[in-house]
Symmetry: C2
Subunit: 210 residues, 2 copies
């Protein structure tokens, strides 16, 4: 039986050499951003395969300008531009909860710079929190090799201080106090669902999940 | 103040003429698929602006092969291919619930052809239902101008019949019986949240939402 790919679905083998680029809006932190993204993607694959959670990274939005449709082979994008995403990078469902987060890395050792966040991400996270989603920033201190999930509400607080009081970062002490530490394990290497469980428990203490 | 776009985020004005293509895996139904997609996207924008729900269409995944980074202007994708998505097109959060669906159109008047579904969509929807998500197919009968949201569990039932008993479609009578009709209104034109409310209520009758 031959497989009929719908047009434009095409055989990926055509793409001989592929580039594994990080999300464009993080390109300043490309090298650093890669590894946390990869770690999270691997965890998500494991969680999906073991039916623990369905969380995916959203594809980078692309504005297509010119696409060739060669006969008998896959459509080829010949001119396109990266677009600014209107959401965060990751979302999905876990134990009935809507999960939404962005992954961020820093080489700083004492604080997390707020310039790593963008207004559209804050706006999106606020909308999701208002709808009862479980939202957070997944932060990695690469030099310390420490990871935390920081509830979106804490991010909003510091974003407000940035906007109105020129605050430039969130102190690590605050992240240790209000965030939940994520630990490395064997399989998946990055075990972040236990931290999400804690976040859900603390949200449920304060607010009833409909 | 000049705005510093992160590299690759670029000014969209560079892209003079842009192409508005439908999701590639639906390209056979391109013309038809367009309009339901557009209608849903408009509803989603309205629901987001009025803080009723946060539901987005996922960007089409693209495999990048060659990207130019010209000095002082936005990165240009010069060679890329469409990838097969591993999820459905739409997801988000509404009243604390994770929402996940795909939009499908048919010109048939009596039944909905199962060939409009793909295995990866069924697999993804099953995983999401297992995690307590509110999942459905958003179906439009273009010739009848009738729209329905059909619970994913009904889709699974007919997908099973297709796999094991060579069933090729879901009868409209069945969709009328098990689906929830979506009506046009003024703003947004396509008012599908009331149908989602009904689906949530019926899911809650059967299964407890954690």
């Amino acid at each position: 039986m031959s497989i009929h790919y719908p047009a434009g679905q095409g055989p990926q083998r055509l793409a001989k050499k592929t580039i594994d680029i990080p999300t464009p809006h993080k390109s300043i932190y490309a090298k650093r951003g890669m590894s946390l993204e990869k770690e999270i993607n691997e965890s998500n694959q494991y969680y999906l395969a073991t039916h623990q959670a369905v969380i995916h990274k959203k594809p980078t939005p692309i504005q297509l300008v010119h696409v060739d449709y060669p006969k008998r082979s896959a459509a080829v994008v010949r001119e396109a531009y990266f677009r600014r995403p209107s959401t965060t990078d990751y979302n999905g469902v876990y134990k009935g909860y809507y999960i939404d987060f962005d992954a961020k890395e820093t080489r700083n050792k004492r604080s997390f710079p707020l310039k790593n966040f963008h207004q559209h991400q804050i706006t999106h996270l606020k909308e999701c929190v208002a709808q009862g989603g479980i939202c957070f920033a997944f932060i990695k201190f690469t030099e310390l090799d420490e990871l935390y999930i920081l509830p979106a509400t804490i991010v909003f607080h510091y974003w407000h201080l940035k906007e109105h009081h020129h605050r430039s970062s969130i102190p690590l002490t605050q992240i240790k106090a209000d965030g939940i530490r994520v630990h490395y394990g064997l399989n998946p290497r990055l075990q972040y669902l236990p931290a999400v469980d804690q976040l859900i428990a603390s949200v449920n203490k304060g607010v009833t999940h409909e």
